[in-house]
């Protein structure tokens, strides 16, 4: 199951903190993501792009999961070595393109 087929997402930042949000399209999708998309799984996927420890926040009332990574953007947006500026707004595609084994 590709995460982006059952959820919408967006990423942003504050200072050196990367902040990713997923909102499930319905209750079933939320239950699936809440159960399977752990902080560890997100951290593994994101670690190939940036360092950092992932904290996950679950908001069942809004069918949303947040993943927050302090220190992922050393020096903030102005100091990044990625091409161009604000690469972190594209970082959500790492989670949206994640495939989760349904078993």
């Amino acid at each position: 199951m590709r995460v982006g087929d059952i959820a919408v997402g967006r990423s942003g930042d504050k200072g050196d903190i990367l902040d990713l949000t997923l909102v499930a399209v319905d209750d079933e999708a939320y239950r699936f993501l809440e159960q399977h998309l752990t902080a560890e799984m997100a951290a593994r996927a994101l670690s190939r792009a940036m360092p950092g420890t992932v904290t996950r926040y679950a908001v069942p009332g809004l069918r949303a999961l947040k993943f927050v990574i302090p220190g992922a953007l050393p020096g903030g947006v102005h100091a990044s070595l990625h091409a161009g500026m604000h690469w972190q707004k594209s970082a959500i595609s790492i989670l949206l393109d994640l495939e989760i084994d349904e078993r």
Binding site: T21, M50, K66, H78, S93
Partner: protein, 443 residues
């Protein structure tokens, strides 16, 4: 007249979500007569750095340089429809911005306008009271406290048509005009801040930066004319988020939830200068086509400390340089060009160097998915942290030299050299940040 519980007591629009945001949607909001006020969020870390740099060269500069473009089409509606404007486009110089608005109002002959500038967020004069989270990595070029809605509300109470701030919290631009119209229960304050957070990124809550799974998002024409959001707010803070009838856009549970949680970190304690809000209890209900009701956000009082953003300039600069390759075998030649640069720059501190390929892995790095087809065009890209201007020039020259001594067909060069400015976070007791109100009038 007493409004019944479900009737809106105040309507506010989100007219800009960053300094370079489009200007047309806010004009449609102002002209519609449907909103009492429009908040224009025009200040981010990057734009504040630009403003501080401009002010260092010219004491009258430091306000948003787009002030004229943004406000010229809006000012006539401020008088005509009584729609107030609240904006942080004062950036590093709110009083100068207010004087520029006055000059613009006179030039456009839009009648008498009262303009309030709020100053005091610049805390460079009281740095001894700022506690930084980490040691400053370089020379501090600016430090600003995130201020709340109180002074904005006062300015509007004293009949300001336009309120200009510097580093006010984004949510405060909306909570300022809104709060005096609500009952003063904690839940209402929480909802005023919720409305501010939902509106502060303009088109992000009306279908911009949003893709539905499986497609079905907005087409190009709709995105080109995207409507910006309106909140109709009841006395208890319950808000209905929508767009103008004739503006394209999507307002549904998903667009509103994505924006509600955008950049808030812990959703149970989103800290603003006006209070700590808890979005885990917020209810988002679709009550009609493109109409969502939002309620139920929790509230705790704000901490004594205000957050401070500081900008520390480290020596040297960042060079960000690219060369394009086109046609058959572009991918192989781009990989080879990248390897040439790795040889040439092998003595450069590797932690200060990044070599990748635009079209393959320049955004997500190692997390990029493998290319599944040969691209017809790619760009080899280098970013390097450089100790000085001369070193940055070496990086640019090494990329440009590939056009003569690299794989065949390199061209389409692009180079940017930017100062190496780190954003740092600190805290200051709010009592150490006195604010002042300065008035200007166009007649």
């Amino acid at each position: 007249m007493t409004a019944h519980a479900g009737a809106p007591v105040f309507s506010i629009g989100g007219g800009a979500g960053f300094a370079g945001d489009r200007t047309d949607a806010a004009v449609r909001l102002a002209a519609s007569g449907e909103v009492n006020a429009i908040g224009l969020e025009c200040l981010a870390e990057r734009t504040l750095i630009a403003a501080l740099t401009a002010r260092a060269a010219d004491p009258e500069a430091g306000a948003d340089p787009r002030l004229r473009r943004r406000l010229s089409p809006l000012l006539p509606h401020v008088r005509r429809s009584g729609c107030r404007i609240i904006s942080n486009l004062g950036a590093a110089n709110p009083c100068s911005a207010a004087r520029k608005v006055v000059a613009l109002a006179r030039e456009l002959d839009v009648g008498s306008l009262r303009i309030a500038a709020i100053e005091g967020d610049d805390v460079m004069g009281q740095l001894d009271k700022v506690r930084w989270e980490e040691a400053l990595p370089g020379r501090l070029i600016g430090a600003h406290a995130y201020i709340g809605s109180q002074m904005i509300a006062r300015a509007i109470d004293e009949d300001a048509d336009i309120v200009i701030t510097g580093r006010a919290a984004d949510s405060a631009l909306f909570a300022g005009p809104l709060l005096p119209h609500l009952d003063q229960a904690p839940e209402a304050i929480a909802m005023a801040l919720t409305v501010g957070h939902l509106l502060e990124c303009s088109g992000q809550v009306t279908g911009g930066n949003y893709e539905r799974p499986g497609g079905g998002g907005l087409d190009a024409r709709s995105l080109a004319d995207l409507g910006f959001p309106i909140a109709h707010v009841q006395r208890d803070g319950t808000a209905e988020i929508t767009v103008l009838d004739h503006d394209p856009g999507i307002v549904d549970r998903l667009t509103c939830t994505l924006q509600l949680l955008y950049e808030v970190h812990d959703p149970s304690r989103y800290i603003t200068p006006d209070g700590v809000v808890d979005f885990t209890t917020t209810r988002i209900e679709e009550i009609g086509p493109r109409r969502v009701r939002v309620s139920g956000t929790g509230f705790r009082p704000a901490p004594r400390d205000l957050k401070v953003v500081g900008f520390a300039e480290e020596p040297g600069m960042i060079a960000d340089v690219e060369m394009g390759l086109a046609g058959s075998g572009a991918h192989e030649r781009a990989l080879r060009a990248a390897d040439v640069l790795r040889y040439r720059l092998r003595d450069w501190p590797q932690e200060d160097l990044r070599i990748d390929i635009v079209g393959i892995d320049s955004i997500l790095g190692g997390a990029s998915r493998p290319a599944n087809a040969a691209a017809n065009e790619l760009r080899v890209h280098v970013s390097a942290r450089c100790p000085d201007v001369e070193a940055a020039q070496i990086i640019e020259d090494e990329v440009y030299a590939l056009t003569l001594s690299g794989p065949g067909g390199g061209g389409s060069l692009r180079s940017e050299k930017r100062r190496n400015i780190a954003t740092v976070t600190g805290f200051i007791d709010r009592d150490a940040v006195p604010l002042s109100l300065t008035w200007e009038a166009s007649r």
